[in-house]
Amino acid sequence: MPSLDLFLQPEIFLAWTSALKTVVILGIVLTMVAYSVWAERKVSAFIQDRIGPNRVGWAGLIQPIADGVKLLLKENFVPAGVNKFYFSIAPSLAMVPAILVLAVLPFGSTLFGVPMVIADLDIGVLWVFAVSSLGVYGIVLAGWASNSKYPFLGGIRSSSQMISYELSLGLSVIPVFMITGTLNLGEIVQYQVDNGWMVFPAWLQSGAGPLEITTDSGAMFGLSLEKSLLWIPMMISFVVFMIAMFAETNRVPFDLPEAEQELVGGYHTEYSSMRFALFFLGEYAAMIAGAGFIVTLFLGGWSLPFIPDGSQGWVWGLINIGVFFAKVAAIIFFFLWVRWTLPRFRFDQLMKLGWYVFFEVALVNIFITAGILAYLKS
């Protein structure tokens, strides 16, 4: 069949598989966005001893669709005195970077021999930082273009917060590169498959440890001296990274840009209808992308100990994808749990915490990692 051969030519094969992966991932993530809003309301209801949405569909499961329809049908109101151009592009500028980050996240091993990542870049980690640092433009421009004091304060707060915490975010992952020796997210996951997860390095493919158990699949369980020493900086990195991610995604306890009691609604006060919904979607999409990044860097990505990758059959490939999204969902639940448990920081406390604590901790952590690696190499 000549038509099938055409589809299997390397370049055309790459093009249509990438397009297919993009569509599927976009679908999964947008569904997750809708249902994390539902989960947010359900979890907050559970924590506050309420019931939460339960009218639309079973247990309120169709609520996100009803919300979407409502937002689409509302009037798209543009207040007088706004800068119309920036006012209308700001919501897209806030949404697009969060979605673009997903392009480099390895969401599975392989399926029918096709790697389950949309763009396998050698600079994957830098791509994530570069693209997510562009997300601040949407928020700043929304605050400025609204020509109103509360959005402006929210935009200013948000940009200074994101710039400050980007530093600790970037510095806290440098120990991960020092250990794995690569910037490619797929290779970082492969390192964790072989050597144990960054935050729980308790299994080894090879190499002996004092507490090792050999199983049938050849994988070994145990901790070596090397692993336990490197585990210390990895835990510090993980904690700093996680907290900085809360600040980057404007989540409680760092949600000063939209603190309702002080700023009405923050940078999106003047927005209505679908433009408001884009900010909302962008915020949750950024949260999901951030959770995916945490899972990829520290929690072993799509891997689960003693479960083979996609080269052993497409069932395992699908299971790996499921494992990745299950881990992402667990991190998102943690985000929600924190939001409804902790009070909000004051703005000066937030900036002090970022500049005087996390920045220094992340910097010192790099030196600790370098010292341990030098000791282990000698």
Partner: protein
């Protein structure tokens, strides 16, 4: 394909670079500069220099320009937008620019080998991050280390200075 991309991004970069000086509203100028940086990064990527391209986005478009925009937004933009175009200054500027372009062309033409075609750079088979790292650490190790220490000292100094001013 690459030629088309080259022309698209070059034209975009030059047009937005011109827009930086032509716009009267400083926010428009700043956003045009961001667009120009992004197009420049895309040009680096078409040359397979992913690392340089992404650093361009990360440092200039993502960090430096956000700070610029931050400061611009705190200014009184209406006064800036109302300022009239000064014809004499414009003519003087264009004359200087024209003279400079002619000078550059003359200098480049007089260089030996300016009309030769050089072979494309050979691929090493490694990622460009690896190549940049190997070059820096093997060929230029001492200057690289000195710059690293300098930047670290500057960073620590900034934190200390900001802490003192708060007291």
């Amino acid at each position: 394909m690459l030629t088309i991309l080259f022309w698209v991004f070059s034209v975009l970069m030059l047009a937005s670079a011109a827009a930086v000086v032509l716009f009267r509203n400083p926010v428009n100028s700043a956003m045009s500069l961001v667009l120009s940086f992004l197009a420049l990064a895309a040009l680096f990527v078409t040359l397979d220099a992913y690392f340089i391209g992404i650093i361009q986005v990360l440092v200039y478009a993502g960090a430096v320009m956000v700070l610029f925009l931050f400061i611009i937004m705190l200014l009184d933009l209406k006064a800036e937008a109302r300022r009239k175009l000064n014809i004499a200054a414009l003519a003087g500027g264009l004359a200087v620019l024209g003279g400079f372009v002619v000078l550059i062309i003359q200098v480049v033409k007089s260089l030996p080998g300016s009309s030769d075609h050089f072979p494309a750079l050979a691929r090493t088979g490694y990622s460009d991050v690896y190549d940049v790292g190997m070059t820096l650490f093997s060929g230029f190790n001492l200057p690289f280390q000195i710059i690293g220490v300098l930047l670290l000292v500057a960073t620590v100094g900034v934190v200390i200075l900001s802490r003192r001013s708060l007291r």
